[in-house]
Amino acid sequence: MMASATPLLEVQNLAITLQTQRGAVRAVHDLGFTLARGETVGLIGESGCGKSLTALALMGLLPDGASVRGSIRFDGQELLAMPDKALCQLRGNRMAMVFQEPMSALNPVHSIGRQVAEPLRLHQGLSARQARTQAMELLERVGIARAAERLDAYPHQFSGGQRQRITIAMALACGPDLLIADEPTTALDVTVQRQILELLAGLVAERGMALILISHDLGVIAQSVARTLVMYGGTVVESGPTRAVFGAMAHPYTQGLFAARPRLGAARVAGERLPTIAGSVPDLADLPAGCPFAGRCPRTLDACHAALPPAVALGAGHEARCIRLGEP
């Protein structure tokens, strides 16, 4: 891996607007972060906060009705201004993605060997035989037992965990610089989740690629990534090294999120209920002008409704968007 002055990924003022029947929806706004080569970052937040849309925007795979503003620079190149043909050469080659549903992310009519070999043939111009050999090695690396014999098997002959390993092999085929994993373990059993996360962590360390891990599972994020971004209402409300974010939760939303996680076996007073965040996720079609969390926050002031709070630095790389951070 070469050291370079430009970060691998630089996102600035990203805004995604979706056209729906109820009008334009501001699904993501004022979103920015940078990612160095080989860095792992986690994107956490509840359903509908814009995590997956952000991932699709990075890959240039937003649905037709979506419009994007702002800037996404990958290795210094502006992706949003790039023609689709050039993007096709990046996708699957230098940036790759693993999806949430391994059951449906593989084409049922092609053998897995063919599907893993495809990016190699497409981007590296390998012959069918070379690509097949490499596909076999990749499948072995991601832990598919007897890969040589199972190259010609079809997706429905594998379990969910195995299929997710296969999609990871597909994503890794060309040795990407950036891997985006959108809830890669959500659809899997808990025991399998751990194996997949360990596989991802191992591959990231081994190949020096950068990882964006999207999840709504705090445990998954805490054990897998170096830096964490907490998303709420379409923007990042808190970001920093995972240790700092989890150790000193600054934003009221982050605090609420942690308080609301169920812990099996934790000593609990009889009759005590699991704490929840009051209210519900704001409707993106009708997002308040100020802090998106203002409507549910226990510490809201009038000023919170006025404008989106700026990011306030709290320590080394740790910042949060809240105007009441300094207060006791």
């Binding site: 699957g92 790759a96 999806f99 009519v109 597909m170 994503a171």
Partner: protein
């Protein structure tokens, strides 16, 4: 379509009644046409004025017509016209229709809108009327009949293809293919087409049956196969005038048409059930 995708395809196929009966009848149709190329009981074009309107018997199994031609031989040769029309008309409709359907599903927007409105426009004409119009302009004959039927099939296949292709485009593995860096054409050929192949096979089988009916109808009206080339539809038309002298004359081509159409429809139904992956999984 790979049989590995559908575990136990033949095992299940042999237990499915409509598929077995349909396949047998269709095989019979193909065998009749193939046989007529090398052998017929009598020369099909030879008239015998001393042996007209013979009842079924040992010499002429199904009897002879008003010109003394052997009905069995005519039926065998007539199967060729039906198959020819079916294959070429479905070929035209399937290739152009599927291409347009895939294009509209891949591009969307105004391209899709234009193709689908054009299809609606074509649908506004009854099929037979379109065929009669075309033969009226270009003259009767089997080639014009085939083209007329084939053109009418294009929008049918375009619609079916587009509807199934759009469903495939919404699937996650298409997004995954995009994420691998594939463009829309590659995705269409490598991912969409194989996944809708079963739908197209079934549709082609059923349209084949309809083409046989259409050919019979056009020939009956004198716009399809021209004499002396035998055709089931024309045999029916000729038998009509002799309805009271020799009613069996109308029965044989009628039965042939009915069995061929029934066989293809049963085959199409059977294939639809067999190729449906949801049913395949349950087994």
């Amino acid at each position: 379509m790979s049989t590995a995708l559908l575990p136990g395809f033949w095992h299940r196929a042999l237990r499915q009644r409509s598929f077995v009966i349909g396949a047998l009848l269709t095989a019979l149709l193909l065998a009749a046409a193939a046989l007529s190329l090398v052998w017929t009981p009598w020369p099909p074009y030879d008239m015998a004025m001393d042996a007209t309107l013979q009842p079924p018997g040992a010499a002429h199994w199904l009897g002879t017509d008003a010109y003394g031609r052997d009905i069995t031989s005519l039926l065998l040769v007539g199967a060729r016209s039906s198959i020819l029309v079916g294959v070429i008309a479905v070929g035209i409709g399937l290739s152009l229709g599927a291409a347009l359907g895939l294009l509209s599903a891949a591009r969307g927007g105004w391209v899709e809108e234009a193709i689908m409105r054009l299809a609606d426009f074509t649908f506004a004409f009854p099929a037979l009327l379109l065929a009669i119009m075309l033969t009226a302009v270009f003259g009767p004959g089997i080639v014009n009949a085939i083209i007329a039927i084939g053109i009418f099939y294009i929008p049918t296949f375009a619609r079916v293809t587009r509807a199934s292709a759009r469903a495939v485009w919404a699937r996650d593995y298409i997004l995954a293919a995009h994420a691998c860096g594939k463009g829309p054409w590659r995705i269409t050929l490598e991912h969409v087409l194989p996944n809708i192949a079963s739908v197209l096979i079934v549709q082609a089988t059923i349209q084949f049956a309809l083409a046989i009916l259409a050919e019979a109808a056009l020939s009956y009206l004198g716009l399809g196969t021209q004499p002396p080339q035998p055709s089931w539809g024309r045999m029916l038309a000729e038998a009509q005038t002799l309805m009271f002298q020799a009613p069996l004359l109308a029965l044989w081509p009628g039965v042939a048409i009915a069995l061929a159409v029934l066989g293809l429809n049963l085959l199409g139904d059977g294939l639809r059930d067999l190729l449906d992956p949801r049913l395949a999984r349950q087994r």
